[in-house]
Amino acid sequence: MSSFNPVQGSRFGALGVYAVLYLAFIYIPVMFLPLFSFNDSVFIAFPLTGFTLEWYRQLADSPGLLEALVNSIKLGCVVAVLATILGTFAAKAVTRYKIPGRGPVITFIMLPLVIPGIILGIALLIIANMTGLGLSLFTIGLGHLMVSTPFAMLVMVSRLEGFDKNLEEASKDLGDNPWATFWRVTFPLALPGIVASLLLSFTISFDEFILAFFLAGSETTLPIYIWGQLRFPTRLPTVLALGACILMISFVVVTFAEWYRRRGVQLKTNSGV
């Protein structure tokens, strides 16, 4: 990349101010959730009346919450592993091999990203109903797998693109069988992408609401639980506390995943000749 800087002179300038304001617009509204979760009042309003951990304490004895949490974690783990396996295979196929119909195939796999969630949700709901599959965590899992696989594939494609074929061939020439080649060459190189994909797929499933809303049976997930709680005004502070925890966890996991993934990509491009 050329070091040409299209703006001579001011580097930060008005655009920089705009960028900071923009970040404020993205972040500040969400920050009210943790802020009021520590406020000593059932009403979510200024002035702040005092600091309390009461709402967090109430989380501990909320019936159904723990169950929903466990469900969400179980679901997220399964979805993350499956989506990452599928995404890695698919990414490998489109980056490593010349295949006919590459464009349409990629478009097809990316479709869940551009079809409104409500349509995916009701379509799956209908088929689950007609095949007698019924609604359960399994159907939610199918829905989540559908929307996280494209992301997993995108993450893996950006990791595997420009991946040096010669490394695998060298390993083969040196007498490794395909299995050994995979474990000794392919896997270590793909690892940052795999970790990022696992974490991001988990977060997608953990936070997903619309599909889960249509596909949930008697077992709920955390977002469904929250949705149910929103009807009760007195429960709102507890919802805020729960929301603050979820945001915190999602934020840490995703920041780590993005940092890990993008750092990997950067290292790769920097070391490239």
């Binding site: 040409f4 309003a45 010349k98 409104p116 009701i122 995703v254």
Partner: protein, 311 residues
């Protein structure tokens, strides 16, 4: 580039026979087969849980609800119902209008930000990209919910303004209207628009900009002649990524829209819930999808003619 040559066979060993051996050899030889073998689990899954269900949704829209049973005789009654009662097309039109405004606002707000990261940030690009991406991975439900407590009658803004004495009574017009929906959606989808625009800006060959400057173009002229047309693919992708999913959204209108902010997604959702008329809900969602596709074609045609005019 030379064709990849299959590994030289051991001439003295008898060639393995049988379908499995043949399949293995074909696998080694053909890139297409290898590629599709790797793709097959994903494709199969998506056919089973996306393509087939959507086809079934189309079929469903031609059936009718008969109290608790589904009448499976082919009929256009659901579609006729949509066109007979103007309330539905009004809601669909409103949804498209709301999503269109959201898309316009989101993309306009995102462009300078993406431009900033692509052209001005040199050292800490990674940090900026992460700062932008992270909120969009976090819970959509909670981001929407945040606006409900901000805009509410006794919410953050009203109580805050009353606290500092700027208003005496809460402003009732903040929540439960289409503007609240637009604002909330624009916030919730912000990060979605930045990344595609950023990628297309980052790809622009900097020497083109240099050339334009050398040929005497000022900043604005250079932007209109080089940067903007070359970032069009990103702008288009960003618009579609925001527009398509927001048309069918029901969470935001449900939480902050009130009656005047109701969208088509709310109707579809209730038809699959309390309304219990799945076939009509299916028809409504098919009509929504067709409308979205139509809008996209119109949009792509519009941007193409714009690009041609600039070029």
């Amino acid at each position: 580039m030379t064709d990849r040559v299959a590994p030289a066979p051991d001439l003295f060993a008898p060639a393995p026979r049988g379908p499995i051996a043949w399949f293995r050899r074909a696998l080694m030889r053909s890139e297409a087969v290898s590629g599709y073998t790797l793709l097959s689990p994903t494709l199969l899954l998506l056919i089973l849980i996306m393509a087939l269900p959507i086809l079934l949704l189309v079929v469903f829209s031609f059936w009718t609800q008969n109290y608790v049973d589904i009448d499976k005789t082919f009929t256009l009654a659901n579609y006729a119902k949509f066109f007979e009662r103007s309330a539905y097309s009004y809601l669909l039109g409103k949804s498209v209008l709301i999503s269109g405004s959201v898309t316009l606002i989101t993309v306009l707000l995102a462009y300078p930000m993406a431009y900033f990261i692509a052209f001005r940030v040199t050292k800490h690009k990674l940090i900026w990209l992460i700062l932008i991406t992270v909120p969009f991975w976090t819970s959509y439900l909670l981001r929407v919910f945040a606006w409900k407590i901000i805009l509410g009658y006794n919410g953050v803004i009203n109580s805050g303004l009353m606290e500092i004495g700027w208003i005496v009574e809460p402003l009732a017009f903040l929540l439960y209207n289409p503007f609240a929906v637009v604002l909330t959606l624009a916030h919730a989808w912000a990060a979605f628009a930045i990344l595609p625009i950023y990628v297309s800006l980052e790809k622009i060959d900097r020497s083109l900009l240099e050339a334009a400057t050398d040929l005497g173009d000022g900043r604005i002229r250079r932007f209109i002649r080089i940067t903007l047309p070359l970032s069009m693919p990103g702008l288009i992708a960003a618009s579609l990524l925001v527009f398509i999913p927001t048309v069918g959204d029901f969470v935001t209108p449900n939480l902050v829209g009130g009656t005047s902010g109701t969208m088509i997604g709310n109707v579809i959702q209730s038809l699959f819930g309390r309304g219990n008329n799945w076939p009509f809900g299916a028809a409504l969602s098919i009509i929504t999808m067709i409308t979205i596709t139509g809008m996209i074609c119109l949009f792509l045609w519009g941007t193409r003619s714009f690009r041609r005019r600039v070029a």
